[in-house]
Amino acid sequence: MLTDVMNSLPMLTLAAADGAKGSGPLIESWAAAPGWVLLIPLLPLLAAVLNVGCAIAGVKTKLPAVITIVSLAAAFVLTALAYLSFSGETRIVTGWSWFDLSWGDGPGQSMKADFGFYIDNLSLLWMLFVTGLATLIATYASEYMEHDVGQGYNRFFFAFALFVFSMSCLVLGDNLLMLYLGWEGVGLCSYLLIGYFYKKPEAVAAAKKAFIVNRIGDLGLAIGVFLTFVHFGTLEYAELFSSEQLAGYIDAVKAGNAGDVPLMAQLIPVFLMIGAFGKSAQFPLYVWLPDAMEGPTPVSALIHAATMVTAGVYLIARFYPVFLVSEWALPVVAWIGAFTAFLAATIGMAQFDIKRIMAYSTVSQLGYMFAGLALLSSTGGVFHVLTHAFFKALLFLCCGAVMHGFAGQLDLRKLSGLWSQPGWRVVSVGMLIGCINLAGVPFTAGYFSKDMILAEAFVTQGPGYGLIGWLLLLTAGMTAYYTFRVFFRVFVGPVRYEPGDDDHGSSDHDHEHDQSDAHGHDGHAHTDHAQHPFHPHPPRLAINGVLATLSVLAVLAAGLYFVTPENKGWVGSMLKDSTAAQVYFDGESDHPTRAGLFLIDGDAHHRDHAHADDHADHGEHAAHGSFLGFDPHKVMYYVSAIVGAIGIGFAAWAHGPRGAVSGFLGDRTEAATSRMDAVARSFGPIPKWAEHKWYVDEFYHFLFRAPLWVLSHIFHAIDKLLVDGLVNLIGYVPRAFGRLAQPGQSGVLHGYALSMAGGVAVILLVVMMVAG
């Protein structure tokens, strides 16, 4: 048995014996504890190390891809095994002691952080889609990146594997330090992969931008970690979530005495929130994510759509109890999320670069997730994370396939009718599935997950939460519009295309040399368009296979909603025992207000959360959160479907083929124009502003970069003139003296003797004067 083999590994020790903590979800025995889950992060790490070896050895085959795929698949299998063998009780698996410091016996005078894993449903859920998607996307990338075999291929898969390792640490870690390690690790890998085409100035700039913007968020997270340790005296989840201090704060908030919670404890969620906003690209720190599309498309799909950017969601879900201690932490998250969702959707509507549209869509959907979490619908939020991971990865990979095949062409005005082109059917179908998910077409996964959030937005009482609901609903319509705008423009209509200026079939590729050999996979070189007419090369087995798999998964994800419907789906059943679980538990009042919250942690005694389970049975509080007088939970299915349909219909009218009769294959006069152009004109300059991303980058430039630029130039001038001047002066004075005395250095003996004599005379005279 694999388990037995793993059990015999001496390095794996368990925290089971650590009974001193007394409380907390600790594992009882080795057999019950899947110690081999340690291999989940270590396998990708091993792959990363092996890929470094490949790079050193100068491997010129697809070996790194094979290594990565195999190790990631193994990690996925192990994760699935862990899930299957999971008993529902939170476990801690300790690899080895990482930090174990103590400077006193009192509380808060020791710091302990193991390389250990906190295994509960939340982390397992995350790891399942992280490792699964990573395996699929690695397979996709093995074909997508093949033009770089022997060059950047090793580097790419090294960073890819390292990213999965970091993400595993982030998700699985049983303490804040592990989380921080993973947090920084994914940031680093993100930087490395965005800047993969380091010869392209835009890619380098985007990588720097992502890294620097993330630094702001990471600083917030770091301060949050510090404050947590200072205030609660521990970094370990088990200890933190079972601490009476935290429970006391939550009780105080529940009792309406939020003022009793110390300010420092209230500040912790704020700083954690900043970290989450940075990593998950929320307003105002979202600006890095669209630019991050400069990286290879698989990276965009995995890191910047499916996994890494959900780290912020994970952070808030994991620290849900901590967020509850502050009255206004969650409302802020809700508002930021809703606003980001709306803002990004408006920008996404006006973009022409399909990858960029998907990027803004990601930002927008992340806003949904945050709003969902903050609106006390953690199930909805996390479900949306899951479904979004699949369909957004699918969308990105489809975009990547288009980009790969059309020489880096991403402008939807210059592509048309892919559906009708031979070899592009899988891509088109995958795109369609992704689009209907994203647009919220009924009975798709995206439809269900979005509905849960929307319904909760109208149900939950909070500062301005009703407005949030309307905002999110509007956003849903806009999402449907811009999603199908892409689809109608690119995949429907007459076959017409204009290849990109990337001579390699993808703007990702930046090779000044060896062009004819590097992309031999399609049989001809695009080195010179003038001589050889361009032929798009449709994707082959690996890409198509992955797209098909993802399409199936994206469709099947909808089925999760119907698993254990009493918990609002499979995700709800997963979350109910985790830190992200919440119930509306209030005997006196059935208002789903924040004061009525009750937390259930993994080992809480409120196992009998009947109220939580029958959340769907919401008749008791229907009167308090309503949607135009209806029960949101019931009516939202129809409302969102209608909104989505409106969006799709508008897109079809504006961008679809001319005349509904001609169907999908009907002709459109020009790929570059549409009815929308006329509509947009009626809005005046607003579409232009949206296309320019509301000038946020310019605003940041004006607000931060310009003053910093001026300041740094002032400092530069000071440094140059004052500091350097002083140093130069110090150097110049002796030199000037030297210059002055240089004529005396005649080489003639007499001159030296003369100056010596004169000098003695002068000294004597001076002595006489001084001595009187």
């Binding site: 250095q745 005649s746 080489g747 003639v748 003996l749 007499h750 003797a753 003369l754 004599a757």
Partner: protein
């Protein structure tokens, strides 16, 4: 006053005839001779005369040393002059050897001709 017996270094006769000569007399002579040697060193271009002028300065120093020794009634000044003499002899031997070498190189004793040695 006949009982004014003076402690001298050796000669009982000398003090009586030099009572009007002070240390200043000797030091002034020494200073003049030193400055003459210095001027000679600076102005003359013949290497040999330049070295002669250094010997002149040595003489001046010797006079000063011995006068001070006499003033303080001890022999240290004279002992110092012995060492000055030693160094002067060594210097003369080496310097003159160098002068001969230089002369053979350029057929000239002009001290200014060697200004290139400044590097």
């Amino acid at each position: 006053m006949p009982d004014l017996v003076v402690s001298t270094l050796a000669q009982a006769d000398f003090p009586e005839v030099m009572h009007a000569i002070t240390l200043y007399h000797y030091l002034l002579v020494s200073a003049v001779m030193f400055c003459l040697g210095l001027i000679g060193f600076v102005t003359r271009r013949n290497l040999i005369i330049m070295f002669l002028c250094t010997e002149l300065m040595f003489q001046a120093a010797g006079i000063a040393l011995i006068a001070f020794g006499r003033f303080y009634l001890d022999y240290t000044g004279q002992v110092f002059v012995i060492f000055v003499l030693t160094v002067a002899a060594a210097e003369a031997a080496l310097a003159l050897a160098l002068v001969v070498l230089l002369f053979r190189r350029k057929e000239s004793l002009d001290g200014t001709a060697w200004a290139v040695l400044k590097g």
